[in-house]
Symmetry: C2
Subunit: 309 residues, 2 copies
């Protein structure tokens, strides 16, 4: 098998991570740059070109051995046409034909997708969902990102908004969400919601890392914080399980660092809500690839798009 | 195009409906028999043979012009192998290899699927979801049946339990459901739940048809019954919309006869919960094929399985 190289780029609001990987997902070089100035499209394009040169040089790979690039972005993307549908973190990129624009700057094809989709693809091919044809992947952080692998492929849906589990309503009324909905899961288990839950239960501000640490040691109030979050999460996850029957649910993101303090009550709650026929069949596990999942998935996207399986 | 004929059978707990249709879904003859005695497998097989002969004779079609038969059943089915996974209405059929068994009795191939999947297939090809590659179909009755059309095909999932929207939890605790879960949608909007909601609101027993009639005339209590049911339904439907982005949601079954008394508040509630990008894009409509959807879908399943598109 001829060696092929791909570049995976994970564009975040603050930092952008990139790596050069081979077709098996092995990382040969990696780099992190500031996302500042990316609202200037030319600057972004030149940065990608520059990153590619540097990644190739670092890995002692010739620039023309790079077959394709994948770019993950924090917003919905029409991945067929390579158009960013909306992006809140970087100004002026709504409805921007990124893949087409980059053609002028880069000698290899560029494929674009949502970052949660990239993360799910990486976990599906190399991580915690490996071997499962059907998987739900969540990233718990400031927001609640989600993506679905159905029949071994990213599910994008007709409007390229597939997998947005963070916007499943879990309350008939409930608070208004940025997405335009009300009562969304994200408003109950996002970073801020958990922090204010901790504040309510402890009667003072306690950092989430501390809440996790205390919960692991058996501290009742700390456990209550995670139990409440787990109860909310379980409703949406069990809803997806009963409707789509994924074989595995992968939980990633900063909030997942709570570990068993969150996963323990989450598994119990999901088992309560899941249909009898599914109770024992769906594993709920932590993500395996951490912060690398974004660029790895972007690189795998590029690989699979050009058909180099 | 050579004319081909298919038999669609919709096995219910009380009655079984069957029809002879052509590849376009045109009905040439139809029949209804009692489902009594179907726990005796030989009797069921002979009945299907007898039905086929009669349907052919009624339509003046030769028996050997029948290309295939589709059978819809009220329970989960491994439609690839033709195995009934579980069935509560007919005894002794759990894990029964129905398609294999019927080979001895019928000269044409038989394909088996869940009845909600058949209904969704019919609505997708000939009914209210025609033209939509992504659709959610619900049947509101004693239970809440559901099925998904994703990328123009029935979504079955790895465990053949796809689309069970009636078992999405809408409450963290809530009543225990027959499925083994708790707080399932079905427990809030099934026939009995709506009837007891009406009893609570009216202070006496009122038949659902009457509640619908009063609601259409503007009766406040009657409207409240449907508004509450709509609020529950909207949570699950909006959850599916935000995660899968179907282009159309089709509502069928006896409870859907409430018509605009239910659909009006349902559309408003779903619009509140749906993401901004999806609010205007998803139509919520009544099923178009009524009670015929079951056998039509079963016949279409058979047609599509043998590849006569």
């Amino acid at each position: 098998m001829k060696k092929e190289y791909f570049i995976g780029v994970d564009v975040g609001g603050t930092f952008t991570k990139a790596a050069l990987v081979d077709q098996k997902g092995k990382v040969f070089s990696r780099i992190q740059v500031s996302s500042r100035g990316f609202s200037q499209k030319q600057y972004f394009a030149r940065t990608l070109h520059d990153i590619s040169l540097r990644l190739a040089a670092m890995a002692h790979v010739s620039f023309d051995e790079i077959s394709a690039m994948g770019v993950g972005l924090p917003g919905p993307v029409d991945s067929e046409q390579g158009i960013i549908l909306s992006l809140t973190n970087i100004k002026g990129w709504n409805h921007f034909h990124l893949a087409g624009f980059l053609k002028k700057y880069l000698p290899f094809p560029v494929y674009v997708d949502n970052d949660a989709n990239c993360m799910a693809l990486a976990e599906s091919r190399l991580g915690a969902a490996r071997g499962a044809r059907f998987a739900l992947c969540l990233t718990l952080g400031t927001g609640v990102g989600g993506a679905l692998i159905l029949d071994n492929d990213i599910y994008r849906g007709p409007f390229f908004l597939g997998g947005e589990i963070g916007h499943m309503p879990i309350c008939v009324s409930g608070p208004r969400c940025e997405c335009g909905g009300i009562g969304c899961l994200e408003r109950y288990v996002g970073n801020q919601a958990i922090a204010s839950r901790a504040r309510r239960i402890f009667g003072k501000t306690v950092p989430l890392e501390e809440v996790s640490r205390l919960a692991r040691r058996g501290h009742a109030k700390a456990q209550k914080v995670w139990q409440e979050a787990a109860a909310c999460l379980a409703m949406s996850i069990a809803g997806i399980i009963n409707v789509l029957g994924p074989q595995v649910v992968v939980i990633g993101g900063g909030v997942a660092r709570a570990g068993v303090a969150l996963l323990g009550p989450l598994r119990r709650r999901v088992r309560q809500h899941a249909m009898r026929h599914l109770k024992g069949k769906v594993r709920i596990v932590r993500a395996a690839l951490g912060n690398d999942a974004g660029f790895l998935g972007a690189a795998l996207l590029a690989k699979e798009k050009i058909g180099a399986r």
